[in-house]
Symmetry: C2
Subunit: 317 residues, 2 copies
């Protein structure tokens, strides 16, 4: 019998489930429609059912635990708290509900912390004691590892570098404040920088022929690659802000590696080269040359499941 | 026989030595003139001599280790590296030199990390697993504790919140960059803010009758207490920037308490009340109400020795 852990990635639309072995191989995948379940109790019963169904088709596998990645998840308390994109309101004790229903050890954390664990157990960060992963998507998520452990802090919500203030009085953020790092250093931030440049400059740009709502980070990256000056400038400014966030994070925990993950990181050299250059300029001199900035080693499509399962595999090791 | 540890605080002018027991009582104090010793080897011999002399006068005490606080000290490597205020140039393996000369277990770290350890072992932070101490002096030093351990990072130099960039293109910093937190949030930063206000505003102020070089943080605090509008505004802006640094640090490690230490913190309510108000406004909403901002529990005059000794006492516990 091969032991596997269920990696569960709860999103606003879909919940993706994978049965992951100790080496990161995914033996089966399943899916639930998250908003179909008005109450977390019903969701947990459906999850239990789905897991039984998945495992029943593999009599060589033994399910030993459940790791969950979810928005607004609190590792310390085992809860999902006030998640705006889920139907389950208030504070949901999801770990307790799941353990009671399935009888299996369960852990939960947010997506970025799960990504950090995935990187540590299955990705590029094996043996790296001090690292940070930044997930560059709609927002900027972060998982911080100090001495081989994810930093959860007193509240269980630590590692919110996207909400570090980098420009007082700057752009409005979804959190209700202004000038948070993620309003600049994320896929959404990149698009906002394009809009700012379109208003500020008189440069020609293919972006001028798109509705604002049609401008996506992928289109900006493609236009930059094709030499569009506004797109190129926006990429450069975004790289600068990612580097500023990295420089500030380095003064805090002095990591050996910062991994970049998510849509924006797929731009490759077009992003990594300027981010590395600016980080070297912006960081406190004592840390110059002490860290590297690398792409995540996790495949984009499986990272969430692998990371979630790593919550359990980490404790087994 | 009572066991004691030598707490050694190396400064540019004086080195202060205390024999500290496990409860934080100082049984004897001594002093060396740091710049008298052109080479670290000679300093270590003099330190060994001084310790022997101190202990010989107390036949009830047994010396079991040496903890050293020093500028630019690296805990991981046991070194002092490129300290601008010391005569010993380059990278000094002070722990190795001291252990070889004295035969006693020796540890070294910088002043702010020593303050964190002092707070943990002898001060207000006993049993607090996640906290940060900010030392508000000429600069802003910081010691960060996560899960009961000081964060040293990959390099051994972690915890430099004073060099977090909070205002791109802002004030020139001693580190060679611009806009570092400590250029605003420190005793020196307070004085610089007074100078900025004197140039920017037309307010009457007793500060206008002083040479720039005569304006000190203490004088500003006194003038603010007496109702001087420029001094009051400068105190308020300084509190705002300390709070901004705290808010950013909270997104990182979500501490339970932030302790403020050093000259500026002695201003008491005049500082703590606005810092708490601004930190509550500036922090990411999820962390509101989850942390407190408190004065350090260490007596100013003995904190450096207590903190240095705590390096050894921490490992003994």
């Amino acid at each position: 019998m091969k032991e596997v852990v269920a990696g569960v990635d709860i999103g606003g639309t879909n919940t993706i489930i994978g049965l992951v072995d100790a080496r990161g191989e995914i033996h089966a995948e399943g899916r639930l429609s998250t908003p179909e379940y008005a109450f977390a109790d019903d969701f947990v019963k459906a999850l239990d059912q789905k897991l039984k169904e998945m495992i029943s088709r593999h009599d060589d596998l033994k399910l030993t635990g459940i790791g969950i990645g979810a928005p607004n998840a609190n590792f310390n308390k085992g809860t999902i708290e006030l998640a705006p994109n889920l139907r389950w309101k208030g504070i949901i004790p999801l770990v307790k509900l799941t353990e009671r229903c399935t009888g299996l050890k369960t852990r939960i954390t947010n997506d970025a912390n799960a990504a950090a664990l995935g990187e540590m157990i299955f990705g590029e960060a094996k043996g790296i004691k001090h690292f940070i992963i930044l997930t560059l998507g709609t927002g900027l998520g972060s998982g911080i590892v100090v001495d081989g452990e994810v930093v959860y802090g007193h509240t269980g919500f630590a590692g919110e570098l996207g909400h570090m203030t980098v420009a007082e009085g700057g752009r409005v953020c979804g959190c209700g404040r202004r000038g948070c790092l993620e309003t600049y250093a994320s896929a959404t931030g990149l698009v906002r920088t394009v809009l700012a440049l379109l208003s500020d400059s008189r440069e020609e740009s293919v972006m001028r022929d798109l509705k604002s709502s049609e401008i996506t980070s992928r289109r900006v990256a493609e236009a930059a690659a094709a030499g569009d000056p506004v797109a190129m400038e926006a990429m450069d400014r975004t790289a600068h802000m990612i580097a500023l966030g990295i420089a500030n994070a380095v003064t805090f925990s002095s990591p050996e590696v910062i991994y970049l993950f998510g849509g924006l990181a797929l731009a490759g050299d077009a992003l990594f080269i300027p981010v590395r250059k600016y980080a070297d300029e912006l960081v406190q001199p004592v840390f110059r040359g002490t860290f590297s900035i690398m792409p995540s080693g996790l495949p984009e499509a499986q990272a969430a499941i692998l990371g979630a399962s790593a919550l359990i595999w980490k404790e087994a090791k």
